[in-house]
Every structure is written in C-alpha cells, then in structure tokens.
Symmetry: C2
Subunit: 446 residues, 2 copies
C-alpha cells in the first residue's frame, strides 16, 4: 500500500493495522496514526518526540507556523518583527520521515468513528491528541470582548501594534484635549506576565519613542494603567518578585491599580469595581485565558476554564484513545495542582514528551507512566535592564535577571534565523533606546 | 506666533510670509511651507535635502513608513521579513527641526487656494511637490486587474507570499491532477527587473523549499512562466545582459516566453497573443506601471502613462508653485529621454536633491538649475550567485555581479537595523538554501 511518490514512510512494521481514508491526501501506511491538533509548544514537542516511534504522525494547525507566544508583547510594542517569533512548522519537521502536516481547522471530532472532521476533509486516527492551547477569556463580559484588544495570536499582536501607532498619529491631529487624552491613555488589564511585560514595553515607548518621533505631542499626556483584580502582580511568583515588579513598573511611570477589576467597557469608559473609572480608546485584555475547546469531545468536561479533564496519563476522561496536553488539559491528580497545572509552555512541553513515551508504551503493551510536573521556574521582564526570575534554586531581580530572561527566551526560539534576527533587534533597541519596527503595515479598523 | 510646546521651528527669518490654517495641527511658522506628497525615494531625498533651508517641510504619506520597493519580490518569495524593507518615516527625520509628518491620504489639490485636501483636514502650502510615484497599470485589461496579483506595496507582497504558500498547501490536498497543475503553475508577466527577479526567486523555491517542505508534492509539477511582450528581457539594459538573464533563468528552469502578451485572464486561463495559453491560479502582474496621479492637478497632463508633464525644473506645466518628481513626473526636455525618464529610484532621488536646491534658489531669487539625469547604472539578480550589473564604466554578469547587487541593495536600505536583519536573512538563505519566512500570517482571500 506504499505510495511511491511519497518518500516518507519507509518505516514499516506493525502489520495488520487499519488503512485510512485518504480524503486529506495523506499517504497510506500500516503504522498506527497519531493525529495531533495544534502546533503550539505541546504539539510540537509531542510530534518531535514521536520521531523514532513507529507511528504515523499527522499534525494539523490552522496556521502553517508555530507562534512563540511569550514574545507576542514585543511584536505589539514594535520591538520585534512578527516573523521573528513565528516558525514554519514544515521546516521544523523536514527531516522527520513519519510526519505529515496539514494546514486546516478542526470542525468536530467524531470519536465513535475515530475521525476528525476538518475544513478540508476527514482524517482517521488511532490516537488523537488535543493540543489546541488556550484562548482569551472574558468572564462573560460581552462589551469587553467586543471593544478590547486581545493578544494571543500574531495577527492580534499586529493589530495592536497598528492601533497603538494609529493612536499616536491621531493624537497629533487633534486639538481636543479630551480626545487626545483618550487616545494616549492605555489600559492593560491583567497583572500576569503578559500584562506586566506589555505595560513595561508601553512605558518605554512613552519614554523613548514618543518624545523623539512626536515632538508635537506632550508625552506626559500618555498614561499607562495596569489593572489587576488581585492583591499583587504576578500572583504565580513569590511576593518578593511581585514587590520588585511593582517597584520597577512604578519607576517606569506605569500606574498600577491593584484590587481593581474591569466591569464594563464601551470603547471609551472603563468601568471598574472601584471609584476609579478610566477614559481610554485602547484596552488591552490580558486578564483571562480559557481552554480552546474542540467540538465533539464532551465527556465529563468542561471542568473549569473550559479545560478538558484528563487523567494522570493525559487521557481525556471518558475516552480510550483521546488525549489532551498543555493549556487545554486539566490534570488534577497532583496534590500540588488540584485545580490543574498553570497554563504555561513548560507544562505543555513536559506533557508532550511524556505522552510520546506513553504512546510507545501503549503500542508495546507496557504500563504507562504518570505525569509529574517539574517546575523549572518563572520569569518576566519589565523594560530595559529589569526583570524578575525565579528558578528552583534561587530568585533574582534586576539587571542580572534581565540577562537571564533574554538568554532563556533567545534560546527558546525555534531556529537560528529567528534567534539572530531577534538578537539584532534587541541589541538595536538596547543601544538606541529605540523600537525599530513601528510600522502600520495594515491599519487596524474596529 | 511661535507655539511653545513645539520645540521645532526655532528657525526664523523670511518675515512677512503668510500664516497657515491649523486644521492638521501643524505649528504656525513664518517660514514658507513646502508640502511633499509621498514618502518614496524622491520625497524622502527632497525632504532631507531641505534640512538646512529656511522652509517648513510637511511630508504626507498614507503609510507611516517608507517602502524599499526593489526588494518587495523577496518579501513575496519568503526571503525577507516585510519589516526589513520598511522604515518608519518619523524615525528618519527625528533630528530635522523644520520637518513635520502627517499620515493621511490626499483627496484633492485646490491649486487656486494653495491647499491640499486630505482625509484628516486641509493643508495650505507655498510650494507643493507631488512625489506620489507609480502604481500598477493594466492597459485597460479589466479582468487582469481583478484576478492577477500586483506587487507594488508591502501588503500586496504579503498577500502574494500568503497565496504562494496557500497554493502549496492546497496542492498537498488535491488528488485532481489538473487542479494541482493549476495551483503549481505560476505566471509572472513582465520581463523588467521585478518580473525577472521574482521569477528567479520562485524558481529557487521550487528547487530548494518545495522538495524539503512538501515531500508529498512532485516539485517537477511546479512551473514558473515568465512572459514578456517585447523581444528580450530587461529591455532597459544591454543585449548582453538580456542574454545572460535569459540563460540564468532558463538554467533555473523558468520557462521564458518572449513576444508574448497577455490578453485576458479569468482566474484560471491566461490568454495570450500566441497559441500558447496557460492554465494558472496565480498570475503576478509586473508588466505595467503608470503615474499615481493626484486629483486637482490637470494642466496639460496626463501626457503618457499618467505622468505629469514637468519642465526642466520639475515644475508641473501650467502651475507656478507645483512641482512633481520621480515616477509621477514626465520630463522630456533631455534629448536622451524624450519620452520621460525611466521610472527608477535614481531619477527620483536626483530630482529630489536638485529640487531642494532650486527651492532655495527661488527663495533667494536666484536662477534655477535644469535637471540632468546621471545614470549610475542598472542591475538585477536572478537567484543564487547570479546577477547582471551595468555600471557607467563596465558591465558584468554572474557571481561578482551578484555580490555587487547585494552590497548596493544592502547599503541602499534605510537604517542599520534593516541592514543587519537583511544580512542575517541573506546569509541564512545562502548557507541553508532556504527561505526562512514562509509564513501565512494573514491568509489571502480573493
């Protein structure tokens, strides 16, 4: 059944496995097929860990690239090109012969038929892994969802980059003080790493880009507010780091409002639970994430935050051959994480690695290994020379932490081209106090 | 009348000049105002050459960045990030105190009132310079205009990049041979530098990217056709260069069809004036350019290709204070260029430089200097290691020409950040036979 034109799938073995529908033009094989939905940190790690295991791996994603989400805020704030934090998925798997990629969107899973319905055809699986990650959550605030800017994808970050720069351009034109205040007031909602890092980057634009590029604008009129509903910033980190972060951000001129939750936003007025309502044309919503669910998988899920409940082997509760890893999975057996693991890249990658081994164990009919998260630490950067880093063996703040942050993120990028281009941009920004790519390539229209 | 918050316009002098409407929030000044429409090669050169002349320079452009058009084809073929060939206009003029930028689109010129109407307000001028460049021309072929892909702006090049990659992805999915032939057949129309360079880049994708990224596709089924209505490629260069170019392209597998003009295209069938009709989902139109006219200036223009007829001082015929430079201007007094100068960056830049001097001469009531184009040479690259270069004192082809081409283009880019990022990408592509940014960030929809 081996189709000659495909130079892949020279691997044989596992005789007697079923053959597959070919509506997605994927070559037939006698190997069991693992279908992975989503090319994020978890999906990629799983797919590459399956390299030497005798399965056919099919990865599907709506984009043809992997997004390095931790640096999205730098795209939004004109610090990095979008192409530096994206990497073509096909390129990563060039040399993996048991791998196929299809760019498409999943419509529904028909688990009784072991089939994925997509916008371009059906796909049969033996094992299905849902690695769809997370999406912005709004806690039911419809107006906020409609009027605020999310920042979870590259097009969203580019829209935000355009909008920030369009606001500056518009503020140059108005003689109405209220109008210009509205345009230059930026409200970032959510005191997690995304909100903290973006607020810091906006503050640096105020300090270094605005006065030079827009001498006609009084940069004192630009205000950055960071709103956090809880009692401290970066709640996942220690109080020491929260305190440093607050100090660093205040030093940059960011107005941090703790214990402040957004209740409504009409595109102009940000209503909060305190008396402190704000006027702003731009609210950036980094306050909530929820699992990116897939239609058709609904055992005893969703549990919380729209995450799929999985067992210690990342098997979705109620399903035999369906797994979920990363942000979309909620694994509660670990006594340290009874509400599920944090939605971070490290969890997804570690679960991907282990699941590859467990799929091998299933095929070899060996016992499976339970997942146990090894926390490698957390970090966030707050503008030039400042960051907080917490590693298992030490905590640090300030310039040394900043270098650690840069090194870790540079190395975590996929591919040397992306690393080199990112390094050029960072060095440029560092020595010039500049953000080089403040381009409105496609203007944002609400 | 000097408004304090503007730290610009400390320059004084030229008493008695008129004051201006401030609908675009541009600070008042007693200096005469030069309004430049368009931030291309000509507009930028003019604006910076006016740095030390006692005028107020206002540059308007619909984008907030300058586009380095000669490398657009590399964006379209996934070789360079769009952000490498764009440069924020405000950044260029950071230190020029007599300069203002406004991002807007010109709607009409009211020359009797010395006013430019824009989408964001009115603008008075003393001297107006039209530097709007050129746009794609279709010789009245409506279907071609609707169905083919132009490549004159960064968004257009990005759309083309997406479409090429989407075609590959779609071709992976189809089992219909005709459909896949249509998707993998690329027709480039126009044998000038843009067409030649893009055809070469597509050929390199066929040779190096397609087999590695899409092992399921037979790369022999990808065909690149380059159609030229005239008898030779690069008609602006010598026959030696044309011959080398043809040889280089044929060596890369490009099917060059000379004496072949497109008559119609319905999105599928390319009808030509020969019997050789082609089936293709993707026609890239690089066959025609015409001046990008501005409403309201219509003396004895348009003459030819919608270019404004100007005298030897680049003054638009019939107007006292309106000038045009670059692609949009047709200057026929030079016996070498009785049909106007070639529409290239060098002409625009040289006209911009001279016009700055002539504006100074006007202000000082000195005689004006006539423009005389100094041809510094032409060049085009055709894939890896191959280019043709014609300088005033020598012609060359092959690898040395290729290095000259790279050096000249790298140096011509605005800003060190762009140069460094471009160099990283070129080195990456060279050593890896790769094109790093094959990303479908925003899918193209017809």
């Amino acid at each position: 059944m081996f189709v000659v034109k495909y130079r892949k799938f020279e691997v044989r073995g596992f005789e007697g496995m079923n053959l597959y529908l070919r509506s997605m033009n994927i070559p037939e094989t006698k190997l069991p097929r693992v279908v992975i939905v989503g090319g994020g940190f978890g999906g990629l790690r799983l797919a590459s860990s399956l390299k030497k295991i005798q399965v056919q791996v099919v990865l599907i994603d709506r984009n043809n690239y992997h997004t390095f989400q931790p640096l999205l805020y730098q795209v939004a704030s004109s610090g990095l090109e979008p192409d530096s934090i994206a990497f073509p998925i096909r390129k990563i798997f060039r040399n993996q012969i048991n791998f196929e990629f299809r760019m498409t969107e999943v419509q529904e899973i028909i688990s009784e038929k072991k089939t994925v319905l997509t916008s371009i055809g059906e796909l049969k699986y033996d094992y299905l892994v849902i690695a769809t990650g997370s999406q912005t959550g709004y806690f039911g605030l419809k107006n906020v969802e409609e009027k605020s800017m999310p920042m979870k994808t590259i097009p969203q970050a580019l829209d935000l980059r355009s909008l920030i720069l369009q606001n500056f351009e518009k503020a140059m034109l108005t003689k109405d003080v209220n109008e210009s205040e509205k345009l230059l007031n930026f409200v970032v909602v959510g005191g997690g790493p995304t909100g903290v890092e973006l607020a810091g980057a906006l503050a640096e634009m105020k300090l270094h880009v605005l006065p030079a590029d827009y001498p006609g604008l009084d940069s004192d009129r630009m205000n950055i507010h960071l709103l956090e509903a809880g009692t401290r910033l970066l709640p996942a980190l220690s109080e020491v780091s929260s305190d440093s972060t607050l100090e660093f951000l205040s030093g940059l001129g960011v107005k941090v409002l703790l214990n402040t939750a957004v209740q409504d936003y009409d595109g102009e007025l940000v209503k909060t639970n305190t008396n402190n309502d704000l006027i702003s044309a731009t609210v950036i919503w980094a306050a909530g994430v929820e699992g990116a669910m897939v239609k058709g998988i609904d055992g005893d899920v969703p549990l919380r935050n729209k995450r799929l409940t999985v067992d210690e082997f990342n098997r979705v509760k109620g399903y035999e051959n369906v797994f979920a890893i990363g942000d979309v999975a909620s694994q509660t057996n670990d006594e340290r994480f009874t509400k599920g693991h944090p939605m971070v890249a490290q969890v997804a990658m570690q679960q991907g690695s282990l699941l590859a081994k467990n799929i091998k164990n299933i095929l070899l009919q060996k016992p499976l290994k339970a997942f146990r998260y090894k926390d490698l630490g957390s970090m966030a950067t707050i503008g030039r020379n400042k960051a907080v880093v917490e590693l298992p063996f030490m905590k640090m703040q300030g310039i040394l932490a900043w270098f650690v942050w840069m090194f870790v993120h540079l190395m975590a990028l996929v591919g040397w081209r992306n690393r080199a281009v990112t390094l050029v941009n960072w060095m440029w920004s560092y020595f010039n106090y500049d953000r080089g790519v403040r381009l409105i390539i496609r203007p944002f229209k609400k």
